[in-house]
Amino acid sequence: MNRNSIHTAIFTAIWFALITFIIVGVQVNTIDGSMQWHPGRAVFIAIVSFLLSLLWQRVFTVQDIDLTEAKNARNTFWIGYFTHGKNIFRKIRTVGIEAKKKHKTVLLLIISIPLLFLPLLGLYQTKVITSVLVFMLLALSLNVVVGLGGMLNLGVASFFAVGAYTYALLNYHYHVGFLIGFIAAALVSLITGVLVALPVIRLKGDYLAIVTLAFGEIVRIVLENWSSFTFGPSGISNVVRPKFFGMTLNLQHVTGYIYYIAFIVVVLAMFFINRLEHSHYGRSWEAIREDGLASQAMGVDLAKTKMLIFAIGALLAGVAGVVLAISTGYINPKSFTFWQSIIPLCIIVLGGMGTMSGVLLGAIILVWLPEYLRVFSDYRFLVFGIILVVMMIFRPDGLIRKTRKEYQ
């Protein structure tokens, strides 16, 4: 920690205090013309940016420091040991929790056994975990498209909405039961996925992301405005809940039952994706993710493969929609905004793209924890934003690093 870096940090602190002062330090209310001053907030920002600046400089200089230099520094001055010797930041960026097969099985067992008996904990816990499972499914869907297929899909909420609305509307207009509704919703979202994929698979990278985002917004706006069919912003209430072999369950039992359905669906989805990933389809996904042109030259049908990826992603998101519809019993367009596409993205970015355990970890951190940290619920999306940026800078691979399968 030399003088230079402290100077930079002080400058950064003043800079951020200054530029954020107008927005943060003064709060206006144009309705009654009142104004509140918050000078304390500016001081807080200055202190935080001072500390973060020191940290930031360390992270970026530590990598470039030669090891011998670090050794000398350690001998001469204890601060040198502090700054150069403990190369903790390099570790942050390089050390990976590498998911090994043995660990994975043990981990899954540890997680899943208590989950089997979860409904005993009560209604609230069961509902919370069900919503975590819904987002896990969404993240799994995105994991196929983004993590395995390498196509950034920002419209996963649209397939989510298609699944949920197909189920709810079939039920409302035609009184279709759970099982048929479930299958129909899955099929309809699969078909939507293919239909969306048809035009967009020719696009690359950023353009693909924007078009999927546009599609997500179109679906939401149509749902909001097509009042005669989708009931507009008020949504559909009293979505039918599944019966247990023809028996109608009371609230507590049906919550548990839906939880088990969600649980089984997630497990099946994971199994399904895992098998696909290690089939020849999975290998072609990996090939087109790394280099589309080269894989095409080697005989991979680019269009077909991309369409399959999109269709599987849409199918999973649609199923997640059905689970959401039955677990809340009420859906409206507000449940399918852009943020519902962003949360799964955050989950896979944090957890580790393309890894199954990453999805689990990410969903637990980003969906399950906030339920118990209600005090901070206002800060949730602020933190999500920070997570996305910080992860991209320091650990683009996510917490759990994907290990490549080696073929002998």
Partner: protein
Amino acid sequence: MSFEFFLKVFFGGLTKGSIYALIALGYTMVYGIVKLINFAHGEIYMIGAFTALILIEALTVLNMPFVAIIVCAVLVAMVSAAAYGYSMEKIAYKPVRSAPRLSALISAIGMSLFLQNYVRLAQTSSFLSFPKILPTFQFVEKVSYLNSSQIIIYFFTVIIMIGLTWYVNFTKTGVSMRALSQDRVMAMLMGIKVDKIISITFMIGSAIAALGGILVSAYIGQINFYMGFLAGIKAFVAAVLGGIGNLPGAVLGSFILGFSESFGTIFVSSDYEDVFAFILLILILLFKPSGILGASEKEKV
């Protein structure tokens, strides 16, 4: 439909187009140089408007003359938006410049999310009314299909367009920008300071976006932390429409988008106003992925 009504819709579309142009210019400049969709650009536009609102309220208390307040507020808002743009680039985009494109895009989305919620938490999540700062001209008020605010918006758009064209084509920095967008490594070898040019690009784009934000808020009369999201996306659509990375293209795309929205609401349905932009985007990308004025990129193998 009477001719009067047609003119009203026409000028409405022109206004929308001008606003989109002010945002799309920044988008397209940044994209041309760093090949990054600056998702947070719409947020800068929102922050510019908020800064101006706060300054106007604060300075009114100090009893300054009205014109001085507005000039001061607009200038400070533009400078502060430029500062936000600069810091944003340094924090979120510079470290991922050499990373895959997907990383940069996700980082940009994160920045957008952060800035949006930063304003929501620091200010408010409800709609605020924005003071009427645009002057009214007597000679325009007699015309039924046009109002003074629109005239001012056109005026600023034209000024910015001319200024930017001059800047990019005839100044040294502008030439460096163009060089950078053609070939970054070569530009670096020719002694162009890449970091500096990128920072300047971000600052100019942000300042223009802030001006756009202030004009829109004064025109519509209200402001909200969420206003930047949709505006940003639509401006991006406009930039893609005209060929991203191309300044005249961005303006052309913005006007096409403005007119199609304005006439679309009349002829189809006002409920689906926002859908037109997205459908247009999908169609354009399908049939001419490089946009109307954009040069098609050849893939190097």
